[in-house]
Symmetry: C2
Subunit: 992 residues, 2 copies
């Protein structure tokens, strides 16, 4: 092996490579940016209709990635190589892989993977879909199809390829840390960059003057606005970039809270949008000069003529459709297969094409529909067509009139074949029209577009001038019926007989002569089409590798499914990491392994983690050691990062982080997270009392409340938000807090609390958020729910229901209200209750309750979710009873006659003189006495009252002329009607 | 010819070229900088002892170079390629030329020239010596040997090569304007950069918020300081760069006055110095890792062994010493030749080496000393050495004592040879010591270093580890005596027999066997050693070319001498430019041609400029058309620039620029240039009255004063300060101001005014500056004279003297004082007068007056320079007279007896009773009557009084016992002594 390129040589090679692909080389930007995307060569040039192809290096500054040089590959500055291809050249992934080969990576020796990673820049108003590219587990490149930038839809879309040069060089040079690499001319990367790296970290984390920089942000924003008013696009953009950098610095200094963050993003996005619009306008004015660049003239898309000969098959043949695409996200793959399994049979039925068997399979790069024994022609079709009325079709003599002749002609039948049918008492002439089935190939060619287009994805994207949307770019279509191509085209791709093989084998072309050989071809090319087979291979392989280390792998269906959907040919491999990392909390290690790396963590017999992980390669086991080494390097860097945070955090006590919460704004009007903590210290005990806690539990709840939010200021949580609460609990434990306090803190964000003090904390936290944010006018609108209040509401419901805990939300909210720094009175409480009830309805619906039942219980018991839940169950059962309608009718009579009364009358039992009155009175007294808060008892009571009610209405004229008598009777009925108060509003039920 | 490289390919090629030379490639900086020098890869890495070799591109932002895209090669952003070689590799110029060849410039086809251009960055506290590199007249590169950076002396020095990539590409691609170039991938440079260029110009010139950015400057400076306090080098440097950019923007907005500018520079320099010191400290702490870079290990300097055989010449031979260097600045060449012509003959005399003839010649690259008929050996030397006194050397018997023997032995003579000599009446023993002459080669070898080192330059530089100082790096030494090398070495260079030829021929090695062939070798290699010959060739060639266009070239000795010193082989060529440029004022065009381009402007018969210029190429006339085209392109760009400014300016009336003077600070305490203008409007008429102006002249002076400074706000003057006044006059003329007003404005900065209103303005302006700045405590100190007050004082003197104008400076300054916004009373006026008198002394001294005469006239007439001047002339003549000492003696007697009196006595003529008294009294009365303000009359009067004075002192005892008599006599003598008051203080003269 020749000496690997040094860092600068690698850059030069990549620049030259892309120059040869027609890209313009540009220089890095002279403003500090967080990513190459922010350079106007990307953020502006991707806008508008012109072509644009560019490559440039971008030193990218991300202050909060700074690790004081302690991390092997994470720094406040890293080098990106940015490539923009506009429009999509059709094979950007393959060109990209060639570029890796140009600098020395043989794809055969590595595991190069495209792992779903969508990109969004709230500050730029931009987003796109794509992947992280993994090289042996290391994220080395971000590969994105831009969909929107500066708030504008992009057409055409651009392909953005962002190389992480440092990590690529690290892999290329085979070093432990970037600092050890040859930066160029034999000079160490660390010798050039390390001192400044450490200095910048110190500046960003500890020195930068927050107040001064905040004020500069404001000034720069104003300058950007002035530039825009003067029509200056790039100067305005520059200032927005400077704002963005200042924001990053302030953020790293810990000076920006959640709401402030959203606010800053909005400010930057507003400028970005105006800049983008001004740019688009400018290009138009300039009449789009890039259209004239000779090298960028779009080559006419290869509209290959389809083969025209069609074999006149007489017997059923195999049909195969393979939709080849760039790597589908795992969930999209799952979803597409589920959809296809439903729609494909329907598809063939609708087309009147019979078949023996349909098989739907898929891998990240292909969705395969295999149909065995597909009829060569459609079934013939007979339809009866209605013509003119019989009396107009035939004259008195029974002879066919002109009308009949015309009808017969128009339907292609002879007059003799017309028949008379009677319908709804009128007689018509009808014709039986026979449609002869057409050849399968012809019909499929006409309809396959619709089939493919019928697949829906949660997020889909456009990538070329066809403007078709799909999960990821669709790159090839195999469509064969027997030996014939079924000719159609979609998204600019023409169907054919050529599939593509595995990435590690350079995606070789796979030509097939016959649909029936498809499966064999796949197998020969080592593509495992069947997900369960891949899944099984993984599971067995993983288990075997774990067993070698006396370890086990706990079940994790989600991870297994994801990994299964990331590979076409899985080969598990075992990697190890340094034992010292095991001193980091297990949750952290596991989160890193599963979430970031899609590795299977290995547990020992004692249930503790072992210093191993299992990764799954896409491809065979050749050069597996290179892949293993790469993955081991990655996990080492990741764990080093976690270790950095962890060690940072445990230097202090958890309580010592509390003062820093003052810098984290919860919301402008509601104050900092520290202010929220103070409120929780008051609110949690009140909620706890409402929950019936006492003694030790009350103390526990109070202590947990005081510490609950402290971990938001810890480095680990700042870095991995998903660990909030978990880390707080862990750190509390390290500080010697009592076990129950630890648990309450740890579980505060969970949907369901395991402990009662934890429940008090969880509820109080959410009451405070909901009521506070509603009072601040920040109730969710449409899909906009930045504070995740819907989830908060649902968690309140779930938590109470799962814990079978009755709780009056009105009391909880009323306790929260006076603690808030802003006015939150009855109207706000009502609004929040209403909002929770909306969620409650959804939860109940998802549990299969009828909508009338839901309405009934929510109307009366919505303030107490568990009560509503239980009533819904009982009521649903009740209405299934044979006599239910009688019960309901009886009760309804009492309600209907009283519900429009403005007044509640006083009942005077002594004045009830008629036996029917007395009977009903005593029945209702029994019902009241039986009340135990359950719906079933209530229904039983109602049932028991049916005879009394019937008798009452038979014997008694309620509306007696004597007002006293009348009102006393109404009072009795009101009492009966009121029996369901606080339980369910039966008038909402069907049949009422 | 193959297709030239596009811009990006050219960059890639240059990066690769320098990488092959061992340079580390780096990326441009991510902060807006004015030049690659500011990137820490230069500004920090040149500090300290470590080696450092780097190449990088730097987009360089110079807001005030913005021309809204109207100029073919001047933009607010241009691209530099920055190369640092540390230490000097010994042949950086040649490597540089190879790099030009690498991108397609054959040096044979062009005129590549190294034209003196020293570099200084007041903001960085850095300076260096070097050149602009010209390619066919176009400045394409700055080539500098850094001497200091961040206020620190550099050791080793660095070579900095800064390519102007845009201009180089322009020449390479043969386009009219950068906008037309291929930027890369077939995309136009203008298509990529022009819209943003125009926008940035608009922002910098018209939009930027001055107040806001000023405040950000302050904040950033504070952040830099905070960084420094935390020991953070690079973050502090970054902030200083940001300050620098802000300063540039503010400057372009016209928001920074002269003093403020100096103040800002000082602030940036202060930070730069601290950053540099911190960096040096840091490198030391890191133990200088770059010393370990394998490719940067200094190769041991080739200390070739000198040839040792020395021919035993018996007859005189030719000696030649050629000091080969990188291009010497023209004035250094002139100065070196002048020095050598003095010191070389002395040198050989001192060495006792006889010769027939010495010839000293030189070109920019060589200083040649040719000595014909140099004796092969030194003359023998006889010296008489004094020994002990004769009476101690010989005893009574005449026998030599021990002392004599010892003396003889120590001098290498025998006792017999001792001789006795008598000196000052004492007798000594002496020995005649004979020193035998040593071979010339031996003696020269020992002494040539001293000769070379004896050449002094106004500015000299160090460049390698020898730390020798010279005008520019010394690169070779030819030192031959006959056929022998005279072996010595200097500045790391060993003498030899190899010279180098012309640059356009790739500086071929010229080996010579014999000193006598030196001149022939030079001739054969087309090097014209003799300056007069080069000068004549140029003059004749230029005249002939001008004549072809019916034009003439006015004499311009300075230009001719400069051009002569810029070439080794001159070939004049005629270029032309567009006639339209002739509408720009001639002064501007001529200034551009002469000053910037060293071209000879061509005048037509009518005395008006013709659209031609004559350039002088270094080299022969092959490919002259390429060179001509290049030069024509350059002048076009330069004129387009001037046109841009001119057209900008004439959109407004001159008077309309006045309000903008309010933004130009003259000095913080003295207010803006507008405030100064207001003062001049008051002061000029007063001075005019003092000068005796009246009527129309007074009006003219007042109008000129009002408009005088307006042109400082015009673009043309902002760009070319040397045109101040000239442009004001021109614009005033365009506005229809009267001819005299125009003249007064135009000549205000001249040393000598041609008109009397002009004189009033010139004096008033300088009085205001001098008194104001002295009052503000800004009198020049040492060599620090930022406001050029010495020149102002000298111009006041010259102006008055040349105009033969008596003027009492005291009155002028007294008129200026009350107008100033700060206190300027008697003490300040006295200080300024004293300062002007100091200059007056210098002026008189330069005119050859004896220092005693100068003291005499300055003491009494310093307040009126022309009077002092005239008196000095008269007095100088007077003291040459044969009887002068008598006159002086007589007068002196009167002075001496009276000068220590504290009182001035009243003379009572009636009380003078003695004839001698009366005689002196009447003589003095005659003298007073004869007074006409001239020194000569005064001297004549004194001469006439000599007898009376003599008689007086003979006959009269002044110190009579009677106080009345005594005092009356003293009063008479006081009157005589006072005759010289206000003319000269004769007591200062020799012989007094």
């Amino acid at each position: 092996m020749s000496k690997p390129l040094n860092f600068q040589q690698m850059i030069m090679k990549l620049l030259s490579f892309w120059e040869e692909q027609g890209c313009l080389i540009q220089q890095p930007y002279n403003v500090q940016v967080g990513a190459g995307t922010m350079n106007p060569a990307t953020s502006l040039r991707v806008l508008g209709p012109e072509p644009w192809n560019v490559v440039y290096v971008e030193p990218s500054i991300r202050p909060d990635d700074g690790r004081f040089g302690d991390n092997p590959n994470r720094m406040q500055m890293h080098f990106q190589l940015q490539v923009i291809l506009k429009p999509d050249p059709g094979n950007p992934q393959e060109i990209f892989i060639k570029s890796l080969e140009a600098i020395g990576f043989n794809q055969r020796e590595h595991d190069i993977r495209f792992v779903e990673d969508n990109w969004e820049s709230p500050a730029l108003g931009a987003w796109g879909l794509g992947w992280e590219v993994w090289l042996d587990g290391q994220e080395i490149t971000q590969f994105t199809y831009f969909q929107q930038a500066g708030g504008l839809e992009l057409e055409p879309n651009s392909v953005e390829i962002t190389y992480g040069l440092d990590r690529i060089a690290l892999a290329l040079q085979g070093k432990e840390a970037v600092w050890d690499m040859d930066y160029g001319a034999g000079v160490g990367y660390g010798d050039i960059l390390l001192p400044a790296e450490i200095e910048h970290c110190e500046y960003y984390f500890n020195i930068a003057d927050v107040e001064a920089l905040t004020s500069i942000y404001d000034t720069y924003e104003k300058e950007a606005q002035r530039c825009l008013e003067a029509g200056l696009v790039v100067p305005a953009h520059d200032y927005n970039l400077k704002c963005s950098h200042l924001f990053n610095v302030l953020d790293t200094r810990g000076a920006i809270g959640v709401t402030e963050r959203a606010n800053y993003f909005q400010r930057m996005r507003r400028i970005a949008r105006q800049v983008s619009e001004a740019y688009v306008e400018q290009r138009k004015r300039l009449e789009y000069p890039f259209f004239d660049v000779p090298g960028w003239q779009a080559t006419a898309a290869g509209t290959e003529a389809f083969q025209t000969t069609v074999t006149p098959y007489e017997t059923p043949q195999t049909f195969v459709l393979e939709i080849g695409s760039e790597e589908l996200p795992p969930t999209d793959l799952t979803s597409a297969l589920r959809q296809l399994r439903i729609i494909v049979p329907e598809f063939f039925e609708n087309l009147r094409l019979g078949y023996e068997q349909i098989t739907i399979e898929g891998t990240p790069r292909r969705l395969s529909i295999m149909v065995e024994g597909l009829q060569p022609r459609q079934e013939d079709l007979e339809t009866v067509v209605k013509g003119p009325p019989a009396d107009r079709a035939f004259d008195a003599s029974g002879k066919a009139t002109k009308a009949a002749e015309g009808f017969a002609r128009s339907r292609g039948v002879s007059v003799e074949d017309l028949k008379v049918l009677e319908e709804d008492g009128r007689r018509y002439v009808t014709a039986v029209v026979r449609e002869t089935g057409r050849p399968a190939v012809e019909v499929l060619a006409e309809n396959l577009v619709e089939l493919v287009a019928g697949i829906r994805f949660e997020k889909s994207m456009r990538w070329n001038e066809s403007n078709v949307s799909f999960s990821r770019p669709l790159r090839w279509l195999v469509a064969l019926y027997g030996r014939d191509i079924v000719p159609f085209s979609y998204a600019g791709v023409a169907s054919g007989r050529t599939s593509r093989g595995l990435r590690p084998y350079d995606s070789p072309s796979i030509d097939m002569s016959d649909a029936s050989s498809y499966a064999d071809h796949m197998r020969e090319n080592k593509i495992v089409l069947n997900s369960e087979e891949r899944s099984r291979t993984i599971l067995e392989g993983v288990a075997a590798l774990a067993a070698e280390q006396q370890g086990t792998i706990p079940d994790n269906q989600d991870l297994l499914e994801e990994v299964t959907n990331l590979v076409e040919y899985p080969t598990p491999l075992l990697g190890k990491f340094e034992k010292r990392f095991l001193s980091i909390p297990e949750e952290v290690l596991v989160a890193v392994m599963r979430k970031h790396q899609r590795y299977f963590p290995v547990y020992g017999k004692s249930g503790r983690l072992l210093p191993y992980f299992i990764a799954v390669r896409n491809g065979d086991d050749e050069y597996l050691d290179i892949v293993r080494e790469g993955n081991e390097h990655v996990i080492r860097a990741r764990f080093a990062d976690a270790e950095f945070f962890y060690n940072n955090d445990i230097k202090k006590k958890l309580a010592d982080f509390l003062p820093e919460l003052d810098k984290l704004t919860f919301q402008a009007e509601l104050g900092s997270m520290l202010a929220k903590t103070k409120r929780l210290e008051d609110l949690v005990p009140e909620i706890a009392v409402l929950l019936g806690l006492e003694g030790k539990d009350l103390e526990t709840a109070a202590r947990a409340a005081a510490l609950a939010k402290a971990d938001l200021a810890t480095s680990m949580v700042v870095e991995m938000t998903a660990l909030q609460g978990i880390m707080g609990g862990h750190y509390a434990g390290l500080n010697g807090e009592e076990e129950d306090v630890v648990k309450a803190i740890a579980e505060q964000y969970n949907a369901v609390s395991q402990t009662r003090p934890g429940l008090a904390l969880a509820l109080a936290d959410r009451f405070d958020s909901l009521l506070g944010l509603f009072a601040a006018g920040l109730a969710p609108k449409g899909s906009n729910d930045p504070f995740a209040l819907r989830r908060a509401a649902i968690q309140i419901i779930d938590n109470l229901v799962t814990n079978e805990q009755f709780f009056d939300l009105r009391a909880g909210l009323a306790a929260a209200a006076p603690l808030l720094p802003i006015e939150a009175g009855e109207p706000e409480i009502a609004e929040v209750l209403d909002f929770i009830n909306g969620r409650l309805g959804v939860v109940l619906r998802e549990n299969g309750y009828a909508s009338s039942v839901i309405k009934a219980v929510v109307a009366e018991a919505g303030h107490d979710p568990f009560l509503a839940w239980r009533n819904a169950a009982d009521l649903s059962e009740a209405i299934e009873a044979a006599d239910w309608q009688d019960v309901l009718n009886a009760y309804a009579r009492c309600v209907r006659i009283t519900r429009n009364l403005d007044e509640v009358y006083e009942l005077d039992p002594a004045a009830l003189s008629e036996p029917a009155e007395q009977m009903l009175y005593s029945a209702s007294q029994e019902a009241v006495a039986a009340t135990d808060g359950t719906m079933s008892t209530l229904i039983d009571s109602l049932r028991g009252m049916v005879p009394a009610i019937s008798r009452f209405f038979e014997d008694i004229l309620v509306m007696d002329d004597d007002a006293g008598i009348r009102q006393n009777r109404l009072a009795l009925l009101q009492q009966v009607a009121n029996l369901t108060k606080g339980m369910a509003d039966l008038s909402q039920l069907e049949g009422f």
